[in-house]
């Protein structure tokens, strides 16, 4: 029972941080209607920004994320405006051209980082890295707990931003019906750019929170791309709360899989759930709530 509780708690904490990355993806997917396969690479770039802040200037990763977020916001805006947005007018045989472009961007970001930082594994070790808190007999890692709490705070802030502010409402309007939003005076192309930026910034935030827990290397981005699209589909696309929920589900499923099946199959569990949800519950878990 302790093992089970420990596993579930660990899953929830990890899942909360995955969710933050996935919310970034779901925002982009909602407004642009494309799967952003460069999302993991953006997470990775964000992690490297935080890492450099830590190793060069000694800035704590939880503070470094506030540097990584604006940097990634800026990079995201540029990518959207000058690369992906150009393809809207281009005539091509395959409709998935924008998705393929994000693959190209993923390649450029990953390899760009590799050229500069090499493929070495890096890690951030802080004074509190090994600390744990105890809840009965179950131990909870402090970096995980802190990361989870910050991720939840960000999720709540984002929810507030999307529902209460004008900019947030414009983003939601654009993702619901682009044409109608334009008729209501929303500058849809600007909103799209900002959304991509916010999505990238959230990716950077999630990455920075996970930095004390993971080894950092250029290819780690693929892992986060996979996790965030799994979560996005689990939660039902375009839904912030759905993505938060999906993150928790994936975190728990993975950590149960790691404990009770085997560590090696941990990632298969998520992928299998993903395919099952795609097949039998195409609206994600959100459609269960609605019914």
């Amino acid at each position: 029972m302790e093992l089970f509780g420990q596993t579930v708690i660990c899953g929830i904490l990890l899942g909360g941080m995955y969710a933050l990355i996935a919310i970034g993806m779901t925002l982009i997917m909602g407004v642009m209607k494309i799967v952003n396969l460069a999302h993991g690479a953006l997470v990775m770039v964000g992690m490297y920004v935080t890492y450099v802040c830590f190793s060069e200037f000694g800035i704590d990763p939880y503070l470094g994320m506030f540097i990584a977020m604006p940097v990634l916001f800026f990079i995201g805006c540029l990518i959207q405006k000058y690369m992906i947005n150009r393809l809207v007018e281009v005539d091509s045989i395959l409709p998935e051209n924008q998705v393929l472009l994000t693959v190209g961007i993923m390649l450029v970001l990953t390899e760009g980082i590799r050229v500069y930082f090499k493929s070495d594994y890096r890690s951030v070790i802080t004074s509190y890295s090994g600390n744990t808190a105890f809840l009965g007999d179950m131990s909870i890692s402090i970096p995980m707990l802190v990361g989870f709490l910050i991720a939840m705070a960000f999720t709540m802030l984002l929810h507030f931003f999307l529902t209460k502010t004008d900019l947030g409402k414009s983003i939601r309007a654009t993702s619901q019906d682009r044409d109608a939003a334009v008729y209501m005076g929303v500058n849809a192309s600007r909103i799209t750019m900002i959304t991509f930026g916010i999505g990238s910034a959230l990716a950077a935030a999630g990455g920075s929170l996970l930095l004390p827990l993971f080894y950092l290397f250029p290819d780690i981005g693929h892992l986060f791309t996979a996790k965030s699209f799994i979560i996005t589909i689990l939660g039902g696309m375009g839904s912030t709360m759905g993505a938060a929920f999906g993150g928790l589900i994936l975190g728990i499923a993975e950590s149960l899989g790691a404990t009770y099946i085997s560590m090696g199959y941990k990632d298969v569990v998520g992928l299998v759930i993903f395919i099952l949800v795609l097949l039998f519950l195409p609206g994600g878990f959100r459609s269960l709530v609605k019914r």
């Binding site: 150009r86 091509s92 395959l94 051209n97 993903f274």
Partner: protein
């Protein structure tokens, strides 16, 4: 026009057939063999992705199955991996049946993502059933033949068969059905085309020939492990990029793309060192942005650009 195309095709194969008489250096032959392997992968992907419009991010699954069929025969039974050239494609094609049943329930980006997930599942499973597949240690075989010429001709033959089969499929009734599915699936359904059946008919040969490429790779390179042959970026995504580079839904596009990918890759590797993939990525972005249908697909546009430049130059003088 039609005659010209046939002549060009014959000329290409004639040149390719006679090339080893002049090119003797193992390195150059190695490059050409790699081009053949990638051209086969690209051509097979193009059948499903280019003509039928079902963008698959999981072709590494078929490539890896083909390679592992050949490798496991040797590992467990000591049978020559050449038999894998026969078994590999069949295994890949058989695996494509359930995969098709599962994934063709989905459309567009969801199909792409489901294939991506399946490809990754294969990689992780092959990595973990180490008692059967040797896991991350991979399979190393001792190739009985080391002459590059032989591999060259086998690669050329395999590419010729792939190209001819794809060409025949595309220019038959099935081909037109596939294009109609790509252009508008609902319209195709309403005209009475059983779309799922025809998508499966496109996936089957696509998986078959990708498996063939995998088996050839095992025989030629003589070492595989799950992270090489089931790799998402280096196989699945590269298969797409090779086609994007050369030309989507064209007969020769994937071959041109494969040649570009390998030759540029080698050039960048020798001149730029570790930055080679970076430059390739930049190139891919530029191609998708400015030549969205690839080099062969935008041949008219390129011709027009070149001639316009010429006329404007002569006009200036």
């Amino acid at each position: 026009m039609k005659h010209k195309n046939i002549l060009l095709t014959v000329a290409f194969f004639l040149v390719a057939f006679l090339l080893p008489l002049f090119v003797k250096a193992p390195y150059q032959l190695h490059i050409l063999i790699l081009i053949f392997i990638w051209a086969i992968i690209g051509t097979s992907w193009n059948l499903l992705g280019g003509y039928a419009g079902q963008v698959s991010f999981g072709h590494a699954a078929f490539f890896g199955l083909g390679a592992y069929s050949a490798g496991l025969l040797t590992l467990h039974y000591g049978i020559s991996p050449w038999w894998g050239m026969a078994l590999g494609p069949v295994v890949a094609a058989l695996a494509s049946l359930p995969i098709g049943v599962i994934c063709f329930r989905l459309r567009g980006p969801y199909f792409a993502l489901a294939m991506l997930a399946l490809g990754e599942i294969f990689r992780i499973v092959f990595l973990n059933i180490a008692s059967f597949t040797n896991g991350a240690k991979g399979i190393l075989i001792m190739p009985a033949i080391t002459s590059k010429e032989l591999y060259y001709y086998i690669g050329l033959l395999a590419l010729a068969v792939t190209l001819l089969t794809t060409y025949a499929i595309v220019h038959s009734k099935i081909g037109y059905y596939l294009v109609s599915i790509r252009e508008d699936q609902d319209a195709a359904t309403s005209l009475g085309i059983p779309t799922t059946l025809y998508k499966n008919l496109a996936l089957l040969p696509s998986a078959f020939f990708t498996g063939l490429a995998g088996a050839l790779y095992m025989n030629y390179v003589a070492f595989i492990d799950p992270n090489i042959v089931f790799n998402l970026t280096n196989i699945s995504v590269m298969a797409i990029l090779v086609v994007m580079l050369g030309g989507v839904a064209t007969t020769w596009g994937p071959t041109v793309g494969a040649a570009l990918y390998i030759v540029l890759g080698e050039l960048f590797r020798t001149t730029l060192g570790s930055a080679n993939v970076l430059v390739f990525g930049v190139l891919v972005c530029l191609i998708i942005m400015f030549l969205p249908n690839g080099i062969v697909g935008e041949l008219d546009l390129i011709k027009r650009m070149v001639t316009r430049k010429k006329t404007s130059l002569s006009g200036g003088v």
